[in-house]
């Protein structure tokens, strides 16, 4: 039976071959391994062999012709007088049409190429390890493809331990750089993971979720900061027996002092002066610069003053370390820097931790007087109200003077009434005679 003989594909990259020479003529007998033609491919000149007994009945392409791999080039049969007209016609139409792909089996396997991921177990608060599988069937334990792993920590574990927000490293970095509070970003990644795009989106639209048409409730999930504030202040509220001492300071000299400094090119705020005053007062009355413990009160050796800074969703107290040893200009610069960086969330842990005394000032917000909650584990906190001009009585005469109210919250376990009052007297001394700040 005659068959069409096609141009073989000699190499994976071969697309066409050029007949350099026919080694057999029409009518020649063929034996296995006989060379019938020499062909040039992209790689080299190669010999085309036949592997069956037969007769070369028809040559279909001439020397010099370039033919695609898989295209008919000859007809080979078993005897010289076979009728091959049908095959010739078939070959002609096959040549006209684009050469069919070589008759190779489709190499793509029927099954999915990647190990079939088994359905991840629902989050049940359990540990789930699903070994690698192939088409649903387990593979040998020593095959080291990646298994699926799900871990849901028990609730108790999550509550107490300080855990990071589930966020990708890139998201964390974006949060740092853009000043986004990671704890306030909702994650769209797997298992609620915060992705960088989530952070970027939160940065672009920092507003709270849009209020719908009707006045619906807004549920703001507690951020880590909120949770931390709640936890700490609740603890000290329940724990420490506190009392409050209020004093009203005559600030006339402080106002004048500040103007003098300003005229000399030294810009300080009233709060800076208060910080310095407290720092020196703490040196005068060191028993107040202390922390309570069951068996002993620790009187701190250094004076580190925390200055409360309001943040969009909470507050933080950056620390001016060794405030008693720093000049006003330094305190001023430092406080400004700390406050800026606090708002940018760029404070390091030792910049907001470690204070021995805290000042909270709401004067600029129109608050005349207030009581603050102690910043644990400190013994006292000073709440500073606004400074304003008030009618005052001096030597029986009505006059106008700058006055400011401060309230000292005291932990009675550490500080008794007289001690607290003594401290406030010391503070008054420096506020009302600011020249002593330089002494």
């Amino acid at each position: 039976m005659a068959e069409i003989f096609v141009m073989p594909q000699a190499s994976p990259t071969m697309e066409v071959g050029t007949i350099l020479a026919w080694r057999k003529a029409e009518g020649d007998s063929l034996a296995p391994q006989d060379v019938i033609a020499e062909v040039e491919t992209d790689k080299a000149a190669m010999e085309i062999e036949v592997f069956d007994d037969g007769v070369l009945l028809k040559i279909l392409v001439s020397e010099g012709d370039e033919v695609p791999a898989g295209a008919p080039i000859a007809i080979i049969g078993t005897s010289a007088d076979e009728d091959i007209s049908a095959l010739i016609a078939q070959a002609a139409s096959a040549s006209a049409a684009p050469a069919a792909a070589p008759a190779a089996e489709a190499p793509a396997p029927e099954a999915t190429p990647a190990p079939a991921a088994p359905k991840a177990p629902k989050a049940t608060g359990k540990v789930g390890l699903t070994a690698a599988a192939w088409n649903g069937a387990p593979v040998h334990e020593a095959i080291m493809e990646m298994p699926e792993f799900v871990y849901e920590a028990p609730e108790a574990e999550v509550a107490d331990l300080p855990r990071s927000v589930r966020a990708a490293p890139a998201a964390r970095r974006a949060a740092r750089e853009l000043g986004v509070d990671l704890t306030a970003v909702s994650g769209t990644g797997p298992r609620g993971r915060v992705l960088r795009e989530d952070v970027e989106k939160a940065h672009a639209t920092p507003a709270a979720p849009a209020v719908p048409a009707g006045p619906a409730d807004e549920v703001v999930r507690n951020s880590q900061m909120r949770k931390t504030i709640a936890r700490r202040l609740k603890a000290v509220w329940l724990d420490a027996p506190v009392f409050y001492l209020t004093a009203r300071f005559n600030c006339d000299n402080m106002v004048a002092f500040r103007s003098q400094l300003k005229a000399a090119g030294v810009k300080v705020s009233y709060n800076d002066l208060v910080v310095k005053a407290c720092a020196k007062a703490l040196r005068d009355v060191p028993a107040v610069n202390a922390s309570w413990a069951e068996d002993a009160i620790t009187r701190h050796g250094s004076v580190h003053i925390g200055v409360a800074v309001a943040l969009p969703d909470g507050l933080i107290t950056p620390v001016v370390r060794n405030a008693d040893q720093k000049g006003l200009a330094t305190i001023s610069a430092e406080t400004r820097d700390l406050a800026t960086r606090a708002r940018d969330r760029k404070l390091g842990p030792d910049e907001y931790q470690g204070s021995t005394f805290t000042i909270s000032n709401l004067g600029m917000m129109g608050i005349e007087q207030f009581t603050a909650i102690i910043n644990p584990p400190e013994a006292v906190i000073l709440a500073v109200g606004g400074m304003q001009q008030e009618p005052v009585v001096v030597d029986g005469q009505l006059s106008v003077g700058w006055r400011m109210k401060v309230t000292l919250t005291c932990d009675h376990r550490v500080v008794d009434g007289a001690l607290g009052a003594e401290f406030l007297q010391a503070v008054r001394k420096y506020i009302e005679t600011p020249a002593l700040l330089a002494a």
């Binding site: 073989p8 594909q9 000699a10 190499s11 296995p32 391994q33 080299a44 190669m46 010999e47 085309i48 062999e49 036949v50 592997f51 069956d52 070589p102 008759a103 190779a104 089996e105 396997p109 029927e110 099954a111 192939w134 088409n135 069937a137 593979v139 040998h140 020593a142 095959i143």
Partner: protein
């Protein structure tokens, strides 16, 4: 001062193989077997040019007399291990043409279920241990087979095939050394076809008789031409009897020739012109056919009938391979590790395995018989 014990001189090979003389039926059978290998290799070449066989394909055309002669000299319970030009060996040992072809086509019905391909044909039933791609790398394994044979007191040998190129590989030397040291029943057969890939023998080795490699380890060795299948049968029969009887391993160099390149991608342009034509004068099929005609009166009709049977069987094998399903993707991970069948039980549940018969292996003792151990 004691001198080292003298080097081992291997006893000579027996003068005769002890095999029954060749008769017409046996010789026609060997002729048929060689033709079968030749024809299947031709069809494999054809399939390769049609890209139905991919990767590497090393053909045995021209060397058929060696595998067939060794098969005729050996026993069914012998083990064979070979290199990558092993289609002929696999068929001579007993793997069906269908299984060989289907394996080369990468089909599920192949001898290794499509996982091995042309270079890795294996068959448990016929004791054919592959099919190995690292030149000379399989030689040490033959010793392990020989070890098992001796340890279990079996009457068998392991035949280890390789080429002249492998006889330069380090692992090969180590295999010879160990085989002789422990007197393992291994027959090493170097099919010296004068070319290791494209490099001629004398450009690879200062010694061109590869059997002499054995002299360095005290092993019996011989070299002979293997174009005549009867010569192979007789000479290998002698060596197999020797090894089987426990006298030690043998290295045989069988001079042969491959008519094609190293593999299907090699046009073999490194041969001097005329060499191939000259060697084809000693085509094993030609030699045996002449012998069958001259000495056993086999007729043209009988040859034609044989040829037709072989053609039918080989075409069937190609068709079977073509129509078989591809290697089963379900089994992608299935053959990396063998499933654990040995029990992990302890105490009374622990598995016990005792040999029915045991052999001793001639591991050299601490005291050499000729050594004079200091007083």
């Amino acid at each position: 001062m004691t001198a080292p014990p003298p080097s081992h001189t291997p006893p000579p090979l027996p003068a005769e193989s002890g095999l029954p003389p060749v008769d017409a039926e046996m010789l026609l059978g060997m002729y048929r077997e060689m033709l079968r290998i030749r024809r299947l290799e031709e069809l494999a070449a054809k399939a390769y040019t049609q890209r139905k066989i991919l990767g590497f394909c090393h053909l045995y055309i021209g060397q058929e007399s060696v595998a067939v002669g060794v098969a005729a000299a050996g026993q069914d319970n012998d083990y064979w291990i070979a290199a990558y030009r092993e289609h002929g060996h696999a068929m001579a040992k007993g793997i069906s043409a269908r299984a060989v072809m289907a394996e080369m086509y990468g089909k599920e019905t192949g001898s290794s279920k499509g996982l091995g391909g042309s270079m890795h044909l294996f068959d448990r039933d016929s004791r054919f241990l592959g099919g190995h791609g690292i030149v000379g790398g399989h030689a040490p394994l033959a010793n392990g087979v020989g070890w098992a044979i001796r340890a279990r007191g079996e009457d068998a040998v392991c035949v280890c095939y390789f080429g002249d190129g492998a006889a330069n590989q380090g692992a090969f030397f180590e295999a010879l050394c160990l085989a002789q040291l422990y007197k393992l029943p291994v027959v090493f057969i170097c099919e010296n076809n004068f070319y290791a890939m494209g490099t001629a023998l004398h450009r690879q080795s200062a010694i061109t008789d590869m059997s002499r490699r054995a002299a360095g380890v005290g092993m019996a060795h011989e070299s002979f031409e293997g174009f005549n299948v009867e010569t192979v049968r007789e000479r290998v029969g002698r060596a197999a009897a020797y090894a089987r009887s426990g006298q030690g391993p043998v290295l045989l160099e069988v001079v042969t020739y491959r008519y094609r390149g190293h593999s299907m991608s090699d046009p073999a342009k490194y041969r001097p012109s005329g060499e191939l034509g000259h060697v084809k004068e000693s085509d094993p099929l030609k030699i045996t056919r002449k012998r069958l005609v001259d000495d056993f009166g086999i007729t043209d009709d009988q040859f034609a009938e044989t040829k037709a049977e072989v053609e039918a069987e080989c075409q069937d094998a190609a068709k079977f391979a073509e129509e078989s399903p591809v290697a089963n993707p379900e089994n992608l991970y299935a053959y990396t590790y063998a499933p654990q069948t040995t029990s992990m039980g302890v105490g009374d549940d622990a598995p016990v395995h005792k040999f029915e018969q045991k052999g001793e292996i001639a591991v050299p003792g601490f005291e050499h018989p000729a050594a004079q151990v200091g007083g």
